[in-house]
């Protein structure tokens, strides 16, 4: 850069005096280029270019927006959301936008969280009233997994309270007034559902488009569609005649999970895709609806039937869990010596090609590492844990 000319006739020695009295001195008026209020510019005696303004244009615009249009975001009404979409829809359809935080994405909805009362009610029903998770889920309209998580967290909370550990109560309050919440219904009112509870996981097989000709005279239902998707042959007429509605299968499979047929051979073998009535988390709701349709005037009888159905399902699930647990316990022997800090879990080794691999060094085989250097020394090996045992 070529040397710059000094634009001012003021010498360096004078500058401090000028800056100290910049507001009132008459000498300032003699230097027209120094009229800006910033004293910073006075100190740059070697530069002829004008000093940048205190704020960039963008910054100025931002604060302008924050002070005018954006000022509505400074304060919010407790218990209501205050999202950006508020700016877009002035006047017209209010309410529809209150839970959409992103103006460019209409599909995104900020989901409500459980209110304090509702989550306590969940804990109360599951732990104190000893209702099954399935029943509570249907009663309150909360996903079964969420119910399990809530029970776990409320228990943790009780433990922390008992231990006298600090809780971030003010924070909880602040959060509950910022995001939408699902309240617990008053007595006599109907509980608003927190979320859809009968979510059908989209099976990858259903993603393919298949041209499958069916005569118009034949009815083609969900059971048959599942068979087509999984490449299974069509059912025999006698077999198809037994199924009056796909939800019949749900009950059959609940009683005997092994009744699902298989397609393919060897490693490619997989179960036939079942209809949605079987794969949803609450198949009993469909059965109940069918009972209602069949007997519209017998509410008590329908309710009775449903209670029995749920009881049966719970009993079966419990039995299955116990059987699994017993099998697991049978496989392993736990030895805990008195003076040891450790428990020893001893399992029998099964030495087959399935368990140890062809060369006897399969990834799950015992003794795989014998004579093999540890792999965390090799390049590119990820050492971040993939799971933490609870």
């Amino acid at each position: 850069m070529p040397p710059r000319m000094q634009s001012r006739s003021v010498s360096n020695t004078l500058l401090p005096y000028l800056t100290s009295t910049s507001s009132s001195s008459s000498s300032l008026s003699s230097i027209p280029s120094l009229s800006s209020a910033s004293s910073q510019c006075l100190l740059r005696q070697f530069s002829a270019t004008a000093a940048p303004q205190a704020q960039t244009k963008l910054r100025r615009q931002m604060f302008e927006w924050l002070n005018n249009e954006g000022s509505v975001f400074k304060h919010h009404v407790p218990g209501e959301t205050n999202y950006l979409t508020r700016l877009k829809q002035r006047g017209g359809n209010e309410g529809s936008e209150t839970s959409r935080p992103f103006p460019n994405n209409q599909h995104f909805i900020s989901e409500p969280i459980l209110s304090e009362e509702l989550r306590n009610e969940v804990y109360n029903r599951v732990v104190e009233q000893k209702k099954s998770v399935r029943v509570v889920s249907v009663e309150l309209g909360i996903d079964m997994k969420r119910i399990a998580a809530v029970v776990r967290l409320v228990e943790l909370e009780k433990r922390q309270r008992a231990q006298g550990k600090p809780l971030a109560l003010p924070y909880a309050r602040a959060v509950h007034e910022m995001v939408p919440t699902t309240p617990l219904a008053e007595k006599g009112e109907r509980q608003t559902y927190h979320e859809p509870i009968n979510d059908l996981p989209a099976h990858p097989l259903t993603g393919s488009q298949i041209f499958y000709p069916v005569p118009e005279s034949r009815s083609f239902n969900r059971v048959e569609a599942g068979r087509v998707f999984s490449g299974a042959p069509a059912m025999e007429h006698s077999e198809a005649a037994e199924i009056s509605h796909p939800s019949d299968l749900a009950e059959k499979i609940m009683e005997d999970p092994n009744s699902i047929g298989w397609v393919g051979k060897g490693a490619n073998a997989r179960q036939i895709l079942q209809p949605a009535d079987v794969r949803i988390p609450h198949p009993h709701l469909v059965a109940q609806e069918r009972d209602r349709l069949a007997h519209p005037n017998e509410r008590l009888a329908v309710a009775d039937l449903q209670a029995k159905r749920l009881e049966r399902q719970d009993a079966l699930e419990k039995e299955r869990r116990e059987r699994l647990q017993a099998r697991r316990e049978k496989k392993t022997t736990i030895v805990s010596p008195e003076d040891s800090r450790f428990d020893y879990r001893i399992k029998d080794t099964i030495y087959t090609t399935e368990t140890t691999g062809v060369d006897g060094r399969g990834s799950k085989a015992t003794g795989r590492r014998y004579g093999v250097p540890h792999r965390d020394r090799t390049r590119g090996e990820v050492k971040i844990p993939t799971r933490v045992e609870a």
Binding site: T56, L58, G70, F73, H75, H76, P78, G79, N82, L87, R100, P101, F102, P103, N104, N105, Q106, F108, I109, S110, E111, I113, S115, D143, K145, A149, V150, R152, V154, L156, E157, L167, A168, A172, V175, E177, V179, E186, E195, P196, N198, D199, P201, A202, P204, G207, S219, F220, N221, V223, A225, P275, D277, I280, H282, Q288, P385, V388, E389, A390
Partner: protein, 466 residues
């Protein structure tokens, strides 16, 4: 990793952050133009925008490996629809249901499938912490993890990129959460913090000296007791004074914004506190700890309550229980009835309650009673504590509220634990019900490129027809 993420206005990128710069950038963001731009240019800008929001802390190599063509999702099913039809009605006719007056019998809605493109990133520990509203930005969440303030299933986890599994329980140190989400301290508060720390230090050194001078233990103990009594007394007094100061500051700060009702309520509250302060000079009850007072009080209140007949006609909304604002000071303002708060009876009752005396609650109206109870709970839960790094009577900073959202990802509920049980993200966020049939998803080699009718990105909502 170099910290490149910032909320520069010149770039105008949207980040996972609660800053006001981010808010401004978000509101002025427009989808990049597609006309007169090559395919590569479109891809470039689309990737830059979605990468800034979702993957600013992810290396390019990870980013490339992270995604899957097969996007998981769920479809909410309606039990009565399933019961009414076994599927043969939908497939009747030529395979898509019989027409109803020229319209297809079964209308389908598009499923915003590609929302779930970024599901693997939502499994990351740092992103999960940000989503759970435990940190004010993904960067800050990352810092919490690295600094060892986060546990997963009770064990310290120091890797921000740890991918949470369904059923994991993560927990953040409550102090950090309050620091991340609360107001910054005012210079006054900072000074108070310094003073208390200095005092504590002096006391500690005194204690050490006393310990050295072992022979006169009895005397030392007695003096120590007296000292602690005095300090406790001073503490409670200071708390009250601080409450008053807060009420004042709220009044002065929000002169233009506070509703007149609220102002009146605040004034009532100020009066109550002032009365308590004037009385506490002669009182010895203040020497008790706040905690003991509180438990006594709640017992008393309960007893009084049961005696009183129920005459509530409108039950307060559940949100009202949480409807608190700037700490204890505005507690009174949560209420709607103006005169009631400012009334002498309430302030009297509050004074009595703070002093630990018998509270005559029978004269109070229902709303007054509620306010009193809430004020006391607040005082216990959200005390003024200058030793903390944050400004302790927690209140959300205003801009936060517009950026606080809850996607259908985490399943934890009790916020005050600062812990969550994450769930595998299955539902496209925002997708509720109605779509019974799935449209096929076309996967392109570039993941940020999706065909029409789908939306990629939660914050950005970019969409480019290929």
């Amino acid at each position: 990793m170099r910290n490149r993420a910032s909320n520069a206005l010149s770039k105008g990128k949207i980040r996972q952050s609660w800053s006001k710069y981010n808010l401004y950038n978000m509101q002025r963001f427009r989808s990049p133009p597609t006309t007169n731009r090559t395919f590569f240019q479109q891809k470039w800008s689309a990737k830059a925008a979605s990468r800034a929001y979702h993957g600013e802390q992810v290396r390019e190599g990870q980013w490339k490996r992270m995604f899957n063509h097969r996007i998981r999702s769920v479809i909410p099913m309606n039990a009565s629809d399933l019961a009414a039809d076994d599927g043969s009605l939908v497939s009747s006719g030529r395979g898509s249901g019989l027409d109803k007056a020229g319209k297809p019998a079964y209308q389908t809605r598009p499923t915003p499938y590609t929302h779930m493109t970024f599901a693997p990133l939502e499994r990351r520990l740092d992103v999960a912490i940000f989503r759970a509203l435990f940190a004010s930005s993904a960067r800050q969440a990352r810092q919490f993890v690295i600094h060892g303030a986060v546990t997963v299933n009770g064990q310290k986890m120091k890797h921000p990129s740890y991918l949470l599994n369904p059923g994991d329980l993560f927990q953040v140190d409550p102090d950090r959460v309050l620091y991340a989400t609360g107001h910054t301290k005012t210079p006054y508060e900072r000074r108070q913090g310094r003073l208390t720390r200095r005092k504590a230090k002096a006391q500690r050194s005194e204690g050490a000296e006393e310990a050295e001078a072992a022979p006169q233990t009895e005397e030392a103990k007695e003096t120590a007791k007296e000292e602690t009594k005095e300090t406790e007394k001073e503490d409670t007094k200071e708390t009250l004074k601080a409450l008053l100061a807060q009420a004042k500051s709220v009044m002065s700060a929000g002169k233009n914004t506070l509703a007149p009702q609220r102002k009146q309520e605040l004034r009532g509250f100020q009066q109550a506190v002032r009365r308590v302060l004037s009385r506490s000079e002669s009182s010895t009850v203040l020497a008790d700890s706040l905690e003991a007072q509180f438990s006594q009080l709640t017992l008393l209140l309960k007893a009084k309550r049961s005696e009183k007949p129920e005459k509530k006609d409108v039950k307060p909304r559940p949100e009202d229980a949480f409807a608190t604002d700037r700490g204890d000071a505005e507690v009174a303002s949560a209420k709607k009835d103006t005169e009631a708060t400012a009334s002498d009876k309430l302030s009297e009752a509050f004074a009595q309650a703070t002093l630990g005396n018998e509270v005559d609650a029978s004269e109070l109206s229902d709303e007054e009673f509620d306010t009193l109870k809430r004020a006391l709970t607040q005082m216990r839960d959200n005390p003024l504590d200058n030793s903390k790094t944050y400004s302790p009577p927690l209140a959300a900073t205003p801009i936060h509220v517009c950026l606080c959202l809850h996607p259908a990802l985490s399943r934890g509920q009790p916020e005050h634990l600062c812990s969550r049980v994450p769930a595998p993200p299955r539902r496209p966020p925002g997708f509720r019900r109605g779509a019974h049939s799935l449209r096929r998803v076309h996967c392109h080699s570039g993941l940020w490129l999706v065909p029409e009718e789908t939306v990629v990105d939660d914050a950005i909502g970019l969409y480019f027809s290929a």
